[in-house]
Amino acid sequence: MAGATAAPARTGGRPGFWRLLLANRLAAAGLLVLGLIVVAALAAPLLPLPDPDLTAPAERLARPLAPGHPLGTDALGRDILSRLVWGTRVSLAVGLSATLIAAVAGSLVGLVAGYAGGRVDGLLMRGVDMVMAFPYILLALAIVAVLGPGLLNALYAIALVNIPFFARNIRGVTLGLARRDFVAAARLSGRSHAGILFGEILPNVMPVIVVTISTTIGWMILETAGLSFLGLGAQPPRADLGSMLGEGRAVLFTAPHVAMVPGLMIFALVMGINLAGDGLRDVLDPRLRSGALTRPVARTKVARRRVPALTPDPAAVLDVRGLETEFEIGGEVHRAAGGVDLKLGRGECLGLVGESGSGKSVTAMSIMGLVPTPPGRIAGGAALLDGEDLFGMPDEAIRRLRGAAVAHVFQDPLSTLHPLLTVGAQLVEAIRAHAPLTRRAAEARAEELLGLVRIPNPAERARAYPHELSGGMRQRVCVAMALANDPEVMIADEPTTALDVTVQARILALIERLRRERDAAVLFITHDFGVVSTICDRVAVMYAGRVVEEGPTRAILEAPAHPYTARLIACVPVLGAPHRRLDAIPGRPPPANRLPEGCAFAPRCPRATADCRAGEIALGGRGGGRAVRCLHPLAPGERA
């Protein structure tokens, strides 16, 4: 099954390396300039150029476009075009070799230091620090002074002074990788230290090395030019860009083109390398890969193909009708929510249950437009809050409702709270965003809220930073923040999944109590039937982006009608019934970009027949407030 889904996904999924790189205009321009220069430099022996070292005093300092000398001649009458091409060849070769030497030596130091840690790390990195503490040009001068001037010695000098740059970069990455589980796993597989370092870690560090090379090479060419300019690199008559610049300096005022031409070439070359290097980094760097370069807008795009009837239901505070949310990734459309209907009465707790990928979080995030665009969009349906369509409202109205009438509590309180502000300051901010209170009044209200969620000593805890609180305390702060503006609806997305069981019990009790006291409706998203059974009045089970069954919690848990619900309940171990056989569901949910026709669960369902695989199956009522999207629902007591 995985075979069918994995293979085509690669072609249609993330765009390829070259497409991404060329989509970046600046990088493409840099690459083009660089390519032209490199081709010219490589082809130097083949091009019909005069000897670059041939002097002709009679033709000295000819201006550009002089006959036979398109870029003129220098003070000794040598053809500048020819010297430029040959000089670029030398500069490129020196810059490239110096970079490679520095990359190999520096990466080796970084890899060993980062992997070994402890004393080895200290020793190596202090050595590197010492090289860094020395002004690089002085160090290069000292090396050249000892070894004598010459291109090769300049190359060594530049390579040496750039080793720290690689060593520090690579050490940092290695340090992180060396503590990863897969390294521990390799150790338990019997691999030697060298095997782990070069077989397991190096392949993961390679992109960072390549990125570092691409950003260093331009710098290296500049440094080579600098040393040659000072007369320490290329020796006459040999041309490189730095020495040409140095020779041009003497005649800068009488014949500016002699210095200008190599100067412009250095500029074009380094600029081309840097632009291409930046582009390469954006594509390759694992730290930027996870979409950090695409900036989602403040609200999910609404592009509805279908808008249902908007006649309000007076019994419902939140009424989601036919919600469709899609993600467009690499030209393919993933239907995360495919027509979801949910009704939430005042003061009611509705559990939204499903496995990862079932669309339960996307549904919850869609309501207030929190699904990131790009790539997400709301493609159909409506969400009525007190009878008003949220998807049709202007951005400003939605902003005013967020955190006020509709509040969210997320799974991970540590990433929800700002790490650099005290929890009190964050509460004050949440209060003042919606209520015209003075700072002092808001602070008093913040303390009151912290007391409400049973945080001991609220005045003192308000001054604490999130990291100073335990996970359970942090989640209470998040609940307090959600309550700050007396919400009508609280959307809690797996609020206890990251918490320990004793802490979970307290947060559940807290949410339950606040719901009863304040009559707020709660949409509680979870994958845990135990949690559902303790706090939800009704439950909706989602599979592959649709609600497959809905009804009162007890009725559904005791006698599920949809085969998926039944099998999902059957595969959860229950405390106190250890000998119950765990019935795993065979297969996997369908991918959201290739949903099957008919019932999405049919391929895994033991009761499926031919009619399950064709046409739309409606969520049909069964009495007792229950509804099921199945042609062959289970009778009470029947096993799937």
């Binding site: 338990l188 004793t502 802490v503 171990p573 000998h579």
Partner: protein
């Protein structure tokens, strides 16, 4: 402990940090595992439960040799494991293997499944090419994966498949003991059942011994023969799973069991007041649970309670001055 013990852990300690600075000032240290003593019989599954920060993962990593104890002994069939891990880590890896909590993070993203599974066969079992090929096919069959998956990369697999690859890698070393550190916590419930069933089948087929770590009491109850409950680095209760879960002796075990949400149970929190773990840098004297304990008395502040067996059940031990069931 009994002479028949297969794995014997004796007063194991692990302190992170600590020691002294260059100028002789004491550095703060965290006592992650404190005087843990337990034993394991061949072929049984020992569950270890506890909440985050209780030291269960540190204990697991010390058993497989990924971490070294500060004090205490671990012996396997009478041989000192800590010395063995230092002298010949491969010999240890042939006997004890480990399955990680995060299945995807435990697979190198840049190596194929074949390369990942071949490593233990080559380095630990010294198999040649043809023999490795045969073993790979067996291993994939054992964890119920198609052999054509071998040439794929880890990112192409779902969490459940990745965890089965992690289990296959542990099996490849042909160990006697596998330490499973929260092996199903990162998985969806339907996948969790698949993996639990596979683990159960493998245990019977290869005569494996498991140390199964989890925070999920229902999972522990369904897989374990015996269970050990940890709190704040201490082992507070150990015994047959039926005894411990039906008649817990330590108030913390009682609290854990009462906190599991279940149908028909009230939402009222099983404890009131400030239910925080003690500060690990400044551990309280005596029993670390006393601040949360409904049965506490003055004696609880004096020293950590000694381990006592339940009346009539010599293998059900708890470290509490006022165990439940005595009154």
């Amino acid at each position: 402990m009994s002479g028949a013990a297969f794995l014997d852990i004796d007063r194991l300690e692990r302190v992170f940090g600590g020691g002294r600075t260059l100028f002789g000032r004491a550095r703060p240290g965290v006592h992650a595992v404190r005087e843990v003593t337990l034993d394991l019989r061949r072929g049984e599954t020992l569950g270890i439960v506890g909440e985050s920060g209780c030291g269960k993962s540190t204990l697991a990593r010390m058993i497989v040799g990924l971490d070294r104890p500060t004090a205490g002994r671990i012996t396997l069939d009478g041989r000192d494991l800590v010395a063995e891990a230092r002298r010949d880590p491969r010999a240890l890896a042939r006997r004890i293997q480990y399955v990680f909590q995060d299945p995807v993070a435990s697979l190198n993203p840049r190596r194929t499944i074949r390369a990942i599974l071949e490593a233990p066969l080559r380095h630990l079992r010294g198999l040649d090419g043809a023999a490795r090929g045969r073993r790979l096919a067996d291993l994939m069959e054992a964890v119920n994966l198609a052999p054509e998956h071998l040439d794929r990369y880890p990112h192409e697999f779902s969490g459940g498949q990745a965890q089965r690859i992690g289990i296959a890698r542990a099996l490849a070393a042909e160990p006697d003991l596998i330490v499973l550190d929260e092996p199903v916590s990162a998985l969806d419930v339907s996948v969790q059942a698949q993996v639990l069933n596979i683990l159960d089948g493998l245990r019977e087929r290869f005569g494996l011994t498991y140390v199964f770590i989890s925070h999920d009491l229902a999972v522990i109850e369904s897989v374990s023969d015996r269970v050990a409950v940890m709190y704040f680095g201490h082992l507070v209760e150990i015994g047959r799973v039926a005894d411990v879960f039906a008649r817990p002796r330590h108030p913390y075990t009682r609290l854990l069991l009462a906190s599991v949400p279940a149908p028909g149970r009230a939402v009222a929190p099983p404890e009131e007041g400030e239910a925080e773990l003690p500060d690990p840098y400044h551990p309280p004297p005596g029993c670390p649970f006393h601040a949360r304990c409904p049965r506490r008395s003055d004696i609880c502040l004096t020293a950590f309670p000694p381990r006592d067996s339940a009346p009539g059940r010599a293998d059900h031990l708890s470290a509490c001055y006022h165990p439940e069931g005595d009154d």
